[in-house]
């Protein structure tokens, strides 16, 4: 199975080489994003609402004098919003000079994933819900879904 994944997703560096990912939870499901994009993880901040932008953009926050938009991952993967608690975190990522905060329920750890554990996501095209999944990682008996943050933020 791993081999098959290797062939299918050869366009993706991560799937070939593996790498480090940051694991976080939405509800009890584990998701991951590639660590190369992550600049920091901060606690929940007061968010300033910006009128006139789509609902998934919750507003802007102040990170050391920089005004950074924040996105709700929950909203992006069509999960109902829940109130923020002390475990809610903002993962700050940087993509092509664009800095964005991602709101997640809680973060778990950074882990190294070997390519053999990685298989590409099934072809979900019709299922809107899973359009941001880049690949599925199966290691230590746990399933993690690696999110394609390029797609999630820029589309």
């Amino acid at each position: 199975m791993a081999n098959e994944a290797f062939v299918q997703s050869s366009k993706n560096d991560f799937n070939i080489n593996g790498g480090q990912i940051l694991l976080f939870y939405i509800d009890d499901i584990l998701y991951g994003i590639e660590i190369q994009y992550v600049t920091e993880i901060i606690g929940m901040q007061p968010i300033t609402v910006v009128p006139g932008v789509p609902e998934f953009i919750k507003g802007v926050i102040n990170i050391r004098g920089k005004v950074v938009p924040v996105i709700s991952i929950r909203h992006k993967i069509n999960q109902p919003e829940i109130p923020y608690d002390e475990k809610t975190c903002i993962i700050v990522v940087e993509l092509d000079e664009l800095t964005v905060g991602l709101i997640v329920d809680r973060v778990r750890e950074i882990t190294t994933v070997l390519p053999t554990y990685t298989c590409s996501a099934p072809d979900f095209k019709s299922v809107n819900q899973n359009q941001y999944i880049q690949s599925i990682i199966d290691s230590n008996g746990e399933i993690k879904q690696l999110l394609d943050i390029h797609k999630m933020i820029l589309e």
Binding site: T48, V49, V50, P51, G52, V53, V60, N62, G65, V67
Partner: protein
């Protein structure tokens, strides 16, 4: 910059900066001489020096085309200086100099592109060469009319390397051996640049190896033995020279050579040899002549300077000691800084201002009695205020640079249109933020062209008939007024003909209300509508009906406004109002529900608590507010942005009367919070595709407590409503 090796970027930047300012200087000199109608010796020397520097530095950058063009220009001025020909067609000379300067500027512009190719200047070079031939052949006899100057200079030049140099001079001369940084490459050209820089300070100057300019193999010699400069200068100039050497790029170290009698003498002997060789073939080999002249140029100078006594080794030592004492103090007083760094600095200061407010008005401190803390925080506030002022002042640039560029345009148009016009500056020392200056050039240029082309009457008779001086005047004036800079471009021409503007507007379908209802002011401002130009003929300079429209757009882009005022027969004024700085805005914070917005103070007219008899509804059930017999549309900000207000009752909230671009409206907010100077932060590029600028948000800002507010753009809110 693919035309240059990597690692050379900083040098390219330096080159661009230096050459641009030199060319601007050249334009100014030419403009000055043109209005005075004569060249001073000093002007010619200055032009000569400029071309020489450009030649040297562009050769160093490997820009052969620029270097050749500069070289030819230098040759031309060499002839003008040395032979003093009577130039009959002085216009041709001006044309050549201006067009060459334009070509060089354009080429420098090109350098900033990645894949530009060197432009071929051969046509221009041919023009210069032809003119040189004309100068020489046509006016050779003229040169004989001034044999006195020729003769007096000639022997001086001859003497220097031989008689003088060998007895007295060799003892007086300070010898400095300069070493360049390892691997800096092209040492000979760097040495040449250095020589050019110091040459103006010395009475006598020699260097070894002497043929640095023509012989690139000297680079190797310089690497091995260093570059030996021998000069003779006054005490003050001596300091300058040492400073120049210290400041020169790529200089690793230098040493002052003393008591090196024997080798020095040998060098002395060696040095004049190539020098004289060079001087001899000068008449035939014109190419070498200017170089030789430059190295000896200082010899012409000492007319006014009294001959100083010989400088003994002791004196030199004294000077050295002095120099070391003043080393820190004596550095040059101007530096050029990358604009990005200044932007960063401004950002940092913005941060500090915010952080200071976060500390001193921290909620944790509430109710505590902290005398020492209060005192210390007042001190901190004072310092941060000063810091902010200084940083803002660093970014301020006088308008004179932009104004001076207009001189050139007026000059060119004067020739082409055959109108005699004076350009007058007032208050050109007024300063504005650098980011604004950069956007002012084009609009001002359009306006000056417009005034030249449409404003000033086309014939002097017409002007005299109206009782005006035959010579037209265009005035550029600038002054500060309540946080804004006002720039007025005025001409004493025919003024705007309301009748014609009206007809034209009608013909172009630009009228939005009945003809009779237009006031003069509105009619004047119609000239700035897109697709409007009263000139029936399209000229080279204006008349395409895009000019004034573009002016308005670009001024509005930097947050300014343009208006027109005119009196028929007396002239026209274009009035530009621009903010002093884009980065910091005075604003009033207002709250709507849980959100806070900042409204720029310059668009607020007043705040009103509404009474019941002030509210009406129009036919489409829209709310209208009546204030002192004037009616304004009411915009409920919470509805506009879809927010939940504190109270839906209009009488609980505060109405802000705002005005922008001549339109007014009332905006309903929940509460006023306070006034604050805020640092404008742009929105994340992520928001660009949601068009939030159109929705009346121009940026955001961070308040003292770290929270973010959105700065409203009143003109878009009024428009969008």
């Amino acid at each position: 910059m693919s035309r240059f090796e990597s690692g050379m970027e900083s040098m390219v930047d330096m080159f661009i900066y230096e050459s641009t300012s030199l060319l601007e200087q050249l334009d100014q000199i030419m403009m000055k001489t043109e209005s005075n109608n004569k060249f001073d010796e000093e002007d010619i020397n200055e032009i000569f020096r400029i071309m020489h520097t450009i030649k040297g530095s562009s050769a160093m950058m490997g820009l052969e085309n620029m270097s050749t063009l500069a070289h030819r220009m230098e040759d031309m001025f060499f002839i003008i200086r040395e032979e003093k020909p009577v130039i009959e067609s002085i216009e041709t000379l001006y044309d050549i100099v201006f067009s060459s300067s334009d070509l060089l500027k354009a080429e420098i512009e090109l350098l900033q592109d990645d894949d530009s190719v060197p432009t071929d200047f051969s046509a221009q070079i041919k023009k210069i060469e032809d003119f040189v031939v004309y100068l020489k052949t046509g006016k050779m006899p003229g040169a004989e009319d001034t044999p006195v100057s020729e003769k007096s200079e000639q022997p001086a030049e001859d003497e220097q390397p031989q008689g003088q140099a060998e007895n007295s001079a060799s003892a007086d001369m300070v010898r400095i051996r300069v070493f360049f940084e390892d691997n800096c490459e092209m040492e000979n050209l760097r040495a040449l640049l250095l020589v050019n820089k110091i040459s103006e300070y010395c009475r006598e100057l020699k260097y070894e190896p002497a043929s640095i300019e023509t012989d690139s193999s000297t680079a190797k010699q310089i690497i091995e033995n260093g570059f030996l400069i021998m000069f003779n200068a006054d005490e003050e100039d001596y300091q300058h020279i040492i400073r120049e050497i210290e400041d020169a790029i790529n200089v690793k170290s230098y040493e002052i050579v003393e008591d090196e009698e024997i080798p020095a003498a040998a060098e002395e002997a060696a040095a004049p040899a190539p020098e004289t060789q060079k001087a001899e073939p000068a008449p035939e080999q014109k190419k070498n002549a200017p170089e030789a002249a430059v190295s000896e140029k200082p010899a012409e100078k000492p007319k006014t300077e009294a001959p100083t006594p010989a400088q003994t080794a002791e004196q030199i030592n004294n000077k050295l000691a002095q120099k070391n004492n003043h080393a820190s103090k004596g550095k040059q007083s101007l530096i050029s800084v990358n604009l990005n760094k200044l932007d960063q600095l401004l950002d940092m200061v913005g941060e500090i201002v915010i952080a200071e407010a976060m500390v001193t008005s921290n909620p944790d401190l509430k109710g505590l009695k902290l005398d020492g803390f209060q005192k210390a925080s007042r001190q901190l506030r004072k310092l941060t205020d000063e810091l902010q002022d200084i940083v803002m002042s660093i970014r301020m640039v006088p308008l004179s640079g932009v104004f001076n560029k207009m001189t050139r345009i007026v000059r060119d148009m004067k020739v082409k249109l055959g109108k005699d016009v004076d350009l007058v500056f007032e208050g050109e020392e007024t300063e504005v933020d650098k980011s604004i200056i950069d956007n002012l050039n084009d609009p001002l240029m359009h306006m000056v062209r417009n005034s030249m082309d449409h404003g000033i009457e086309s014939s002097q008779e017409e002007r005299i008939a109206k009782g005006k001086p035959a010579k037209g005047t265009i005035t550029l004036s600038a002054y500060n007024s309540s946080g804004e800079v006002i720039i007025v471009v005025s001409d004493d021409g025919g003024g705007i003909d309301c009748q014609r503007v009206m007809e034209k507007a009608k013909a172009n379908g630009l009228l939005t209300k009945p003809e009779e209802e237009y006031t003069d002011k509105e009619i004047f401002n119609m000239v700035m509508l897109p697709g409007f130009s009263t000139n029936t003929e399209v000229t080279e300079y204006s008349g395409r009906g895009v000019g004034m429209d573009v002016v308005r757009k670009s001024i509005e882009k930097i947050g300014g406004t343009v208006s027109v005022d005119s009196k028929q027969g007396e002239g026209t004024n274009f009035i530009i109002k621009i903010p002093l700085s884009l980065a910091i805005v005075d604003g009033i914070e207002v709250s709507v529900g849980s959100s806070i917005f900042t409204i720029p103070i310059n668009s607020i007219k007043e705040f009103i608590k509404l009474k019941e008899n002030q509210l009406f509804y129009d036919t489409s059930k829209k709310e209208i507010v009546k204030i002192r017999n004037k009616c304004y549309p009411l915009i409920r900000l919470h509805e506009f942005y879809g927010l939940e207000p504190k109270s839906h009752d209009i009488y609980d909230g505060v109405v802000v009367l705002v005005e922008s671009e001549g339109k007014s409206a009332c905006i309903l907010v929940d509460e006023l919070i306070g006034e604050q100077q805020v640092v404008v932060k742009p929105f994340s590029p992520m928001f660009n595709r949601y068009n939030i600028k159109q929705k009346g948000m121009s940026g955001c800002t961070i308040l003292g407590d770290g929270s973010i507010t959105i700065i409203l753009d009143i003109s878009n809110i009024i428009f969008d409503n």
